[in-house]
Each structure stands twice: as C-alpha cells, then as structure tokens.
Symmetry: C2
C-alpha cells in the first residue's frame, strides 16, 4: 500500500464500510465419516439455513488467528483449544457475497479429534457436527442420495476449498494425526486418510509407508487393550512424531481428471 493512498483515506469517516469477519471450517471425524461444524442461522438472510461458524474480528485488539480461535471456542461452546490445529485457509471478498453490505471474510481451517456435541452459542439457533457427505457443495456434480443441504452465503465454496486443502495437506504433512487422540493405531490413521480422501487404501502398503517416513509416528510400546469390534489382533499404539513434513510424501492415487 502506498502512502498517498493512505493519506487520501486517512480520515476514518471516508473508509468504505467494510466488515471483516472470520469463518471457520472445523473438521473432525465421527463414526468413520468426515464432519464439519455448522450453525443454524436464526435470522434473515438465509434464516434457517446452515452456515459456517464465524463472526467479526475485533480489529486492532486481536490478530486473525486469535479471532478464529475465539470464534471456534465461543460460538459453539467448545473450549478445547488444546489439540485443535488451526490454520488460515483463504479470504473471500466478492461484492454481493453478503446481501446486506460488503464483507471480507478470512476463512480458517481447523482439524481436531472427535469432540463433544456443540451447544448453540449466543448467536446461533443451533449448532451441530454435520456429515460433509450430506451437504450439497456445488450446483452441478453428483450428489449423494438422501438429505442434501445447501449452505448460506458462499459457504459451500469455502467449505469446498477447505476440503481440498485438507486433502492436499494429508499428502505432505502429518496433519492426519490432528484428527486422532494422543495415541492411535496405524489402522486408525489409515481410516483418517480413507475418509478424508474418500478412497480405500491398501492396508499393508499404508502400514509400511507410515513406518518408513521419518518422524511421522513413534511407537509407545503399548497395544490396544483388545482387538477390533469385528475381531482381529490387538494393534500397536503410536503417537505423533516430530516431523512437520512427510518425506517422501504420502501421495494419494491421482486420476486423470485431477491432473488436467
């Protein structure tokens, strides 16, 4: 930004009326399916429709990361700042994305282990973890059978961008562990990849790969107390290692359509 431009607008009354908000795409895994945290709007516009949790940034008092963490905790009644990974996703500022006024929204992406049901915050009439598969994310494209909901504002696009980011980050960072509790088994880690990528993975190869990437996981020496629900031996327990990047990366099988 240049100085003259600032001086020309230095008088606050001359600013365009812009609101800056944060919206959070909070993802977790429940019952083997990817879920996103949504709140139900109690007022127009989009009354009764579901939206991403979010709110105004207290500009000058907090930074954007703090605002996102505050919204995630405050508006849904989830405290648990502990093991939640939060990162900036992208910023959306198209004219008309809010019918009432110009709004620039900084979207955040949050990954966390299975969390309790949220309570509705002061602003939302309801809040719930919602299966991503039950949402209509684009006008075109195949939709799952059953109930499909359309999100308020441009939140379908934001969620869609967040999912794409999450899918990509699983390839070259150890963030999949952010969806799991402190200790976990390799098959649980594989389940994270499978439900975020929506692809079945080869159990043996996945096992070999995870153990071969330095710093991805480290063994605890323990095993689960019993076998799985449907049988099978006890599994060894691991915790997240100290790697920030997976090298070599754990590439998802790419299709021609992804590439072109």
């Amino acid at each position: 930004m240049t100085d003259e431009a600032f001086l020309a607008d230095y008088d606050p009354s001359r600013y365009p009326a812009v609101a800056v908000t944060v919206d959070v795409v909070a993802l977790t895994i429940r019952d083997g399916a990817l879920h996103v945290l949504l709140v139900e709007r109690g007022e127009a516009p989009f009354k009764g429709r579901w939206a991403l949790p979010g709110g105004f940034v207290k500009v000058g008092e907090e930074n954007l990361d703090q605002a996102a963490a505050r919204e995630l905790a405050e508006e849904t009644g989830l405290r648990s700042p502990g093991r939640v990974h939060l990162e900036q996703l992208a910023t959306y500022g198209d004219p008309g994305r809010d019918p009432r006024m110009p709004v620039v929204s900084v979207a955040y992406l949050a990954f966390g282990p299975e969390m309790p049901d949220p309570r509705a915050g002061s602003d939302a009439s309801d809040a719930a973890w919602t299966p991503v598969a039950s949402l209509r994310l684009s006008a075109s494209g195949a939709q799952p059978p059953g109930v499909t909901r359309r999100l308020a504002f441009d939140h379908a696009r934001i969620l869609s961008d967040g999912l794409e980011r999450a899918r990509g980050k699983l390839e070259y960072t150890p963030l999949a562990t952010a969806f799991l509790p402190e200790t976990f088994t390799i098959p649980e880690l594989r389940a994270v990849y499978e439900c975020v990528w929506d692809e079945a993975l080869h159990a043996g190869n996945f096992h070999r790969k995870v153990l071969s990437v330095p710093g991805f996981v480290e063994g605890t020496g323990d095993t689960t107390a019993s076998g799985g629900r449907k049988g099978g031996p006890r599994a060894r327990l691991y915790r997240a290692g100290d790697a920030r990047l997976l090298h070599p990366a754990l590439l998802r099988p790419a299709t021609e359509e992804d590439i072109r």
Copy 2:
C-alpha cells in the same frame, strides 16, 4: 458469521475503522536470479523504505482478485495481464502492523516471465525489480554479503511466505512455466527451478523427469536458432502442457531441517 452479530453492527457508523488492502508479491526471473517487484515509499511512515506494491480494495465494486490485478498493472505501469499467473497468498491483520490504523491486507502472489522495468505509479516515488537475495528477510539468519534492504511494514514476512509458497508450488504444479515465455527449452525450465529453489539440479535427470510427467510440457517440433552462449547444441523448444498438477511430483531434495 451469525445474524445477530450482523444486526448489532448493521449501522455502518458502528463498524470499526478497518481498511482492506491488497499487496502483491510479484516474482520474475532476470539474469538468472529471482527478482521481486518493489516500490519506494515517498511518505511516512517508512518513507524511503521499499515495500510491496498494493493499495485499497474498492470493496463492493471489485473482487479481491481484480483488485490485485489492478494494483499490479496500475501502480507499476505494467499492463501485460496476459501471461501473468496470479493467486491469493494469505491475509495479514495483526494489530499494529500499520502504525496509523488497523489494516487487513490480502496478499497475492504473481509469477510472470521477464517483464520490462516498471515506471513509478502515481503513489510510489520509484518502482523496481529487486533481486530477492539482496533483501534482509529476517532479523536472524545468514545474510548475503553486500547491500541488504529491510522492507517496510511486515512485508518481509509476506515476501518470505510468498517465496515459500512459490518453492512448494514448483514441486507439484507446472507453474515454473509461468516464469518463461510461450516457448522455452528444458534447460531454461531447469534454470527456473534452480534459482527459485537455490539448488543445482542434475541436468540429465531433470530432463528425463520433465518429459516423463504427463502434460507438463509438449514439444513444438522446433529448436532454438543457435546454441547457447558458451556453446553446446541447439535445444528443442517446448510449450506448457495441459496438466494442472504434476504427477508424480518433482520433489526438491529435502534436508533434515526442512522436515523437523
């Protein structure tokens, strides 16, 4: 964002005085070195220091991408919207990042082939392509010998984030071609990777790899008119292919420090 929060702030006079700007990290390659487009500030604060080009978003009239493209063209006198790749980088909103008032800046990353010298825009006292290596990007860390400049505001951090993004994108997208003209040779493409990554690459292996990734480049059937400056045969010419992702990726050699 929730409805009640909006209603509470519906009166524009109650908005906090937030300015929304775009800043552009425009990268190109000149004389075998990575350069970034900077403008010299003509007024306080940071008068005489260099900064990223940027300016206010005309909220409600244009979207963020358009604002970034406009700033890149307008403030520097570079029109050339043609072959420039522009993508959103991140958003910066820490309190105090501008000493005068709260400012939220949406940063963009631009890649382009070698471009003419900019002329100073209406706001900047000067504008120039500056070698990235000549800039002091962090307080700590090794600095190159010779002139090092410190950027205004938090622009060193933004540039640093932009460089890291660029380095990563070269691995799994064909964006290196955005630094080159319509047709180019494989050694020219290798030079892009080498100067963005700041690492020497094995010529033979790079050649094999580029040709083996589907859709990365396609041959034109032509060759350069003559050999290189210091000799060597004519090189075959290629143009960018239709791939949006490189599969398998062209991974840069990772060091232990990158990973942990």
